[in-house]
Symmetry: C2
C-alpha cells in the first residue's frame, strides 16, 4: 500500500472512532473541570484575607494529601519543579555530583539537577512500565561504579553518584520496590518524581511514598489542579524540617527579627491555590474512575487494528491513567509526526512524548547508558485526548 | 530618668496614641482587604477552566501593569524572588561576577544573586531615602574599580562588577536617576527591586521603569496582592523575549514537539492569581490615598515628642508609603527591641527593619563598602502598623 494511504488509514481509524464515540467537536489532551467546592473555598479564602503562604487551606491541603497518600509529612510548594529542587537541596546533592534520571521525561525532572550544579546521568526505561528499567540499571551501576567510603563513585568520571530520580511516566508506576533496593545497595538517595502520578498506586501504596522524597504536581494539565502547585512527600522528619526551612527563605524562628541562616527560596504555595487543590481532592476518586473508563473505551475502540497498541497499566499497579497512550507498531513509526499533526488539525488534541532529554543540545555532553528503549519509545508514543471531561461533562 | 521609665514612656506614647485614634483591638502590620471584583474574577476564572499559566487574566494583568507603570513590557511570574532571578539571568550575570546591592534589604533581594553563582557586594544606604547613596557609591566605584575592555572590574578581587540592584525601601523611591547615571558611567546593568514599591513614582515616573529591569511583588503583605505573584518590567524587547523564554522551561515554539534549548524555569504566574491581581489593581488609587493618609495621621499624632521621627517620602518622590516608618533618635536606640516586643504584645504589630544582610553569617565573607548608615539605621528603624484597613475598614 502507498505511504499516503497507510497514513490516512491510521488517522481515520483514530479520528472516526473517537469522534463517533464521544461526539464532541474538540478533544483536549487534558483539561480540568471544576464542579466541586472550588468557588466556595476561593470565596472563603478571600473573605479570610489570608491569601498568601500562611492560611487554613495550605494546612488543610497538606493534611489531606498526607491522608490520601499515607505520607507522614507533606509540604505544599508552588510547583513540581520547585518541589524537586528542594528535595535535591535537602538531600545535599553537591555541585558536580551525578544524579541518575530517565531521559524519557519532561525537562522539569532534569532542570532542578542543573540548578544544584549537579550533572544529570541518563538511564534507560523499559517497555512495560515506561519507567526506569531496574535490571538494566543494576547491571549498569555494577559496571560503572565503585564504592568508596560508602559512596557510589562513577569509575569513569570519578564523580559521586548521589541520587536517582524516578519518574512515573504518564502516571504509570515504575518498578519502584526494585529501584529502591538498588538505591539501598549502592547508597543512593531515591527521589520519586510523581508529578504526573497522584492517584497511582504500586502494590496498594501510593507512589511518591517509597523513596526518600516524592514530588507531586497540581499544574493545570494534571489529574487534579490548584492552578500552580506542587507537594513534597517524605516520611523523614529531618528532611521535612529542612525543605520547609529552605522554602521560606531560610528564615530562622524569632519573635520579630528577620534572620536567615543559609541560602533560601520563595517556594511556598499560596492559600488561594491551596483552596482550589482542597476542592479538587474531594472528588479525585470520581476523576480517577473516569480516567480508567477512558482507557477501557480506547482499549475497546482500538481492539481490531494492527497499527498500534493501547498502553495498559503495569502489573502490581493501579495507575491514574493521566495521559492515555498508544504505541505505534514498529512498521508504522515513520508516520508518527504526520498523524499527530493531522489529528491536531482535526480537533483531536494528541501529542508525542517529550523529546528525550539526552537529545536536547545542551545535554549532549551528559553521561548516559545505552538508551535503546528511550530512543525507540520516542518514535512510537502518541498521547490521546485524556480529559475526564470526555466522560464527566 | 531611669531606663525602665524611658522605655515605658516611649511605648505608651505609641500605644495610647494609636489605640485612641484608630479604636481597634489588633493593629496588623500590613493586611490586605478585598472589596472589589476579586471573587467575581475568581469565579469567572474557574468557570473558564483556564487556571494555570495560560489565560485571560494573565494577559490582562500584564497589560494593566504596563498601562499603570508605563513599562513597555511586563511579564507576570510567581513572585518577586523569581522575577529578580530571571532579570539576573537575562542580564547574563555570570558565576563569580559581583552584583552591587544594598545590605539594608529583605534577603530576597540577595538570594537570586546566589542562585546565579554570583557574589553580592554590599553598598550603603542614605538617611533621606533609605536607598543606596549615589554619592558614596560613585566615589567607592572610582576607588575600587577599573575599566577593562569596557567592563567594570573590581581592582581588589579582580572580578567583574556586572550589575547594581537598587531596592526602593518600604516603597520610598531611591535616587534612581543619579544611580542610573552611575551605572551608565561604569557600564553596569541596573535592576530595580521595586517589590515594595508599586504605586511609587520618582519625578512622576513609576519606579521600576528607570533601570534595564524592574521587579514588582504582589505577595500578601504588599500594597496590592495576588496571593503569590510578581512582575518584571522592561522596555527592552530582547530582554522581554529572554525572560519569557526562561520562565517557561525554555521551551522552543513548535506545533507539537517538546524541545528546550537551554536551562529553564517554571516561573509563570497562574491565571487564578492574576485574576486577584487584576481586581486589586482596579482600586490601587484608593489604597494609595489611604496609605498616604495613615502617614499624615502618624505625623500629626507624633508631632509633640522627641523620642523618634516619622519618616517622610524623599524629595521628588511620591511614595506608596508601603510600610510606615519611625526612626528612633540616637539616644533611644537601645530601647528598640523592648519597644517592638512590648508593642507586639499589646496588639500593635510593629517590626524592626531586616537584619542587614552583611551581618548574616553566610554573607560575612562578601565584599562590602563601609556600611555606616546601614548599621545605624538598623538600630533606629521601627515599622508601625501600615494596613490600609486602619482607615478603609
Amino acid at each position: 500500500m502507498k505511504k499516503k494511504n497507510i497514513e490516512n488509514l491510521i488517522i481515520k481509524e483514530i479520528e472516526i472512532k473517537i469522534k463517533n464515540f464521544f461526539r464532541k467537536k474538540i478533544f483536549n489532551l487534558h483539561e480540568p473541570l471544576f464542579f466541586g467546592n472550588e468557588t466556595k473555598y476561593l470565596n472563603e479564602c478571600i473573605k479570610s484575607s489570608y491569601v498568601s503562604s500562611v492560611g487554613n487551606y495550605v494546612n488543610k491541603f497538606e493534611k489531606k494529601i498526607s491522608n490520601y497518600t499515607k505520607s507522614k509529612y507533606s509540604l505544599s510548594v508552588i510547583n513540581g519543579t520547585s518541589a524537586l529542587h528542594l528535595t535535591l537541596l535537602a538531600a545535599k546533592i553537591n555541585k558536580n555530583d551525578e544524579v541518575l534520571v530517565q531521559s524519557l521525561t519532561f525537562v522539569a525532572s532534569v532542570n532542578p539537577i542543573l540548578y544544584c550544579g549537579a550533572i544529570p546521568h541518563f538511564v534507560d526505561v523499559e517497555n512495560d512500565t515506561l519507567g526506569i528499567d531496574p535490571t538494566k540499571l543494576e547491571k549498569y551501576l555494577e559496571y560503572i561504579s565503585i564504592k568508596k567510603n560508602n559512596k557510589c563513585i562513577n569509575k569513569i568520571t570519578k564523580r559521586k553518584i548521589s541520587a536517582l530520580v524516578v519518574m512515573h511516566t504518564f502516571g504509570h508506576p515504575s518498578k519502584i520496590i526494585q529501584l529502591k533496593k538498588i538505591c539501598r545497595k549502592f547508597n543512593i538517595i531515591l527521589i520519586e518524581d510523581a508529578a504526573e502520578a497522584i492517584g497511582s498506586f504500586y502494590k496498594n501504596k501510593h507512589v511518591g511514598t517509597f523513596g526518600d522524597f516524592g514530588v507531586l504536581s497540581f499544574n493545570g494539565n494534571k489529574t487534579i489542579t490548584s492552578g500552580c502547585g506542587g507537594m513534597i512527600l517524605t516520611n523523614n522528619y529531618k528532611f521535612y524540617k529542612k525543605i520547609k526551612h529552605l522554602s521560606t527563605q531560610s528564615r530562622v524562628k524569632h519573635k520579630f527579627e528577620f534572620i536567615h541562616d543559609e541560602i533560601g527560596y520563595n517556594y511556598r504555595l499560596s492559600n488561594i491555590n491551596a483552596a482550589v487543590g482542597c476542592a479538587q481532592l474531594e472528588y479525585i476518586n470520581k476523576i480517577l474512575r473516569s480516567k480508567r473508563q477512558i482507557f477501557k473505551i480506547y482499549k475497546a475502540l482500538f481492539s481490531n487494528q494492527n497499527f498500534f497498541t493501547v498502553f495498559k497499566e503495569p502489573i502490581y499497579s493501579k495507575s491514574n491513567y493521566w495521559l492515555q497512550t498508544i504505541l505505534l507498531n514498529d512498521e508504522y513509526v515513520e508516520y508518527k509526526n504526520v498523524i499527530i499533526s493531522k489529528l491536531n488539525d482535526s480537533g483531536i488534541k494528541v501529542r508525542p512524548v517529550w523529546k528525550p532529554i539526552h537529545l536536547l543540545k545542551h545535554f549532549k555532553k551528559s553521561p548516559k547508558m545505552n538508551l535503546y528503549n528511550t530512543n525507540l519509545l520516542y518514535k512510537k508514543i502518541i498521547n490521546l485526548p485524556s480529559s475526564y471531561s470526555l466522560i464527566l461533562n
